[in-house]
């Protein structure tokens, strides 16, 4: 397993990132966590629908996306709000999706993220197709797709990996192995020695990385992205991390894991680790982090405000994006619905 920033905050090797970049990553992680906590509390207040927390997975999401160029595609899941946000998906739209409004699925034109995938598995093929299209059109774009350990059990994982390898599409497969598919631990999902080991079944490069180590995650993703960009084909990255929270706000992890396990995982918290590192460099202070927190709070609060201020969609909304132009039968239904 690739590691650079060790759990105690020391380095094994050299940082691939200058310190100010690490500080920006730290800032992003803290901000993302604020978003996460806020989402949970909004859900409890009934202001958001079911929410899937990513606490603990910030490094895996943010450090990998940090290796992308703005024009690269990001095709991620319901749990990857941090990644999407880092790739330019406006936070208010991420909220809006959770408020229960399809307009949350429409990032701005210059943001190359698909709407977060709710189905498990299918979207990996979409990333393959997007990367393939870029290749055919001579665009210098890579597509990175994020998915969980659970998703690797789906047939679509297999078909996506295989197509990517066969056509050498510039796709990066980033598996966040967070230990569980809802309640099922990885050891009961597969007998493979690791997720990364599955790459060889496709003749693909596979690499296992400490997903709570932002430096290593950045490093392996940068390598994979570079390989893809120069026509070297796809890579499977397994980022070993842990979901500190529940599967979703409907889930009770107490049913399938122990508090000891959870506490042990907390000690590998990527934010704590990065803080220690920066502190060791003399680049961290409580005041600085407080300032980040305050700014994060403002950002998050404004985003939810904007989302909630969006007018509740009228009946037209249900019909108006099914086709380029709604056909007569649908127009008639819309009229019926409006009555």
């Amino acid at each position: 397993m690739r590691q650079i920033l060790l759990p105690d905050g020391s380095l094994d090797g050299e940082s691939p990132l200058p310190t100010d970049h690490v500080k920006r990553l730290f800032e992003a992680m803290v901000t993302a966590r604020r978003y996460d906590h806020k989402s949970i509390s909004l859900q409890r207040q009934g202001r958001l629908a079911t929410y899937a927390p990513f606490e603990g997975q910030e490094a895996a999401q943010l450090a990998s996306v940090a290796a992308l160029a703005p024009d690269d595609w990001l095709v991620a899941t319901y749990r990857d709000a941090a990644a999407n946000w880092a790739h330019g998906y406006p936070m208010d739209l991420l909220f809006l999706g959770r408020v229960g409004d399809e307009r949350g699925g429409a990032p701005p034109e210059d943001v190359h993220c698909l709407p977060p995938s709710i189905t498990v598995g299918a979207h990996m093929l979409h990333a393959v197709g997007l990367a393939w299209a870029a290749m055919l059109k001579g665009e210098n774009r890579v597509a990175l797709t994020m998915f969980g350990d659970g998703a690797t059990s789906e047939g679509d994982f297999h078909e996506a990996m295989n197509f990517a390898a066969v056509y050498d599409t510039p796709t990066v497969f980033l598996c966040q192995n967070n230990g569980y598919a809802i309640s099922l631990p990885v050891a009961r999902q597969t007998r493979s020695e690791s997720i990364a080991a599955k790459a060889s079944a496709y003749g693909m490069a596979g690499v296992r990385v400490d997903g709570n180590d932002p430096l290593a995650v950045y490093d392996v993703t940068r390598e994979a992205v570079a390989r893809a960009r120069r026509g070297g084909g796809p890579t499977l990255i397994e980022a070993v991390t842990y979901r500190l929270g529940a599967h979703t706000t409907n889930d009770d992890p107490g049913r399938y894991r122990t508090s000891e396990e959870e506490e042990a995982a907390r000690r590998r918290d990527p934010i704590v680790r990065t803080r220690s590192y920066l502190e060791g460099l003399g680049e961290w202070s409580r005041g600085w982090e407080d300032a980040i927190e305050t700014e994060a709070e403002r950002l998050v609060d404004e985003a939810i405000e904007r989302a909630e201020a969006m007018q509740v969609p009228d009946v037209e909304h249900v019909f108006s994006a099914m086709f380029e132009t709604p056909h007569a039968g649908l127009v008639a239904q819309a009229e019926e619905a409006g009555r």
């Binding site: 229960g100 409004d101 679509d156 309640s183 099922l184 049913r255 239904q333």
Partner: protein
């Protein structure tokens, strides 16, 4: 007799099936340790063991395909798909194998499995969690397709489904899991597959529905009663085989029909009912058959779902319309 919700009745039915027949087993995503995302199989792993209540990887085709092999091999698997929106990766196995092995092998092999699928919307869920795809199963020859709307039916139809030597798609209306209660016998009993239930007798108009919409339809019938219109409420309950006698008989009697379902209208199962009514009861009809359904759109997210789901008002209006047409 015990008072139970629909969810509790199904749990009781599963428990009983596991207890009474060692070849019965449960498999699906999270059905074991957590008791399923809806807690329908809560406690069953502890009671019946990990060989009989099996948590599977996230792989719907795997679940259905393995259940098929288990069934052909002499087990009676009850496979759960977490939400209907996730049933499509397993659809190929259902359509091309589960529904066909008896025919393909002239009764030599059979796949007596039950495929449980929670379905329907109305709880503000994320995309893919609110689908009603009963029509794509009803269109598949070789399957029995049923859906309970009462706790009594929940347990009784499940017992009949598990006992059936034919594969049964057992659709569980999510919206009713905890919102309906009723008396349920503690002992085993069957509600026969292929039977509809008249929930309210009436003379003026037949309201035909199934699953979660039975709730709005019953309410609509009360509203109509207040307006002097005596509606008959038929819970179709078994889409395949269809209880033509009860369903079409009702329309022949009243001369008017409103069909209510959540699924998109076009090529929904309501179309089948309308077609059969037209074939069988044309000369009894006093007004065109109406369909009050979901629209030909994606099921909307929370903020839009009230625009989509058939409401009591829409049902009442359609029924009133059929009266005016007379």
């Amino acid at each position: 007799m015990s008072e139970r919700t629909l969810a509790q009745a199904i749990t009781a039915g599963l428990d009983e099936a596991l207890a009474s027949d060692p070849s019965v087993m449960l498999l699906g995503e999270d059905v074991g340790v957590t008791g399923g995302v809806f807690r329908i199989s809560d406690g069953l792993l502890e009671r019946h063991g990990a060989d009989r209540v099996v948590d599977t990887p996230v792989a719907e085709s795997g679940i259905v395909g393995a259940a098929f092999g288990l069934a052909v091999g002499g087990m009676r698997p009850i496979a759960e798909i977490q939400f209907m929106g996730f049933s499509t990766p397993g659809y190929d196995q259902v359509v091309n194998h589960v529904a066909r092995i008896r025919h393909r092998s002239r009764h030599r092999f059979t796949a007596p499995l039950v495929l449980r699928i929670p379905y329907g919307g109305g709880f503000g869920a994320a995309e893919h969690h609110s689908e009603s795809w009963e029509a794509i199963y009803a269109h598949t020859p070789g399957l029995v397709v049923v859906t309970p709307s009462t706790p009594h039916d929940g347990k009784g139809l499940l017992a009949a489904s598990v006992a059936s030597n034919d594969p049964v798609v057992f659709l569980e209306p999510i919206r009713l899991y905890r919102s309906v209660k009723g008396q349920v016998p503690d002992e085993r009993y069957e509600v026969p597959l292929g039977t509809a239930a008249v929930r309210r007798e009436g003379r003026d108009v037949s309201l035909l529905t199934w699953g979660a919409m039975t709730k709005e339809v019953r309410q609509a019938a009360e509203v109509l009663a207040g307006q002097g219109i005596d509606a008959e409420v038929v819970d179709v309950r078994s889409l395949v085989p269809l209880d033509e006698e009860t369903v079409l008989g009702s329309v022949a009697k009243t001369g008017r029909a409103v069909i209510v379902h959540e699924a998109p209208r076009t090529a929904g199962f309501g179309a089948e009912l309308a077609a059969r009514i037209g074939e069988t009861c044309l000369y009894d009809l006093l007004a065109p058959v109406q369909r009050v359904t979901g629209w030909d759109t994606v099921f909307p997210l929370k903020r839009g779902e009230h625009h989509y789901l058939p409401s009591v008002d829409r049902i009442v209006a359609a029924a009133v319309d059929t009266m005016a047409d007379a």
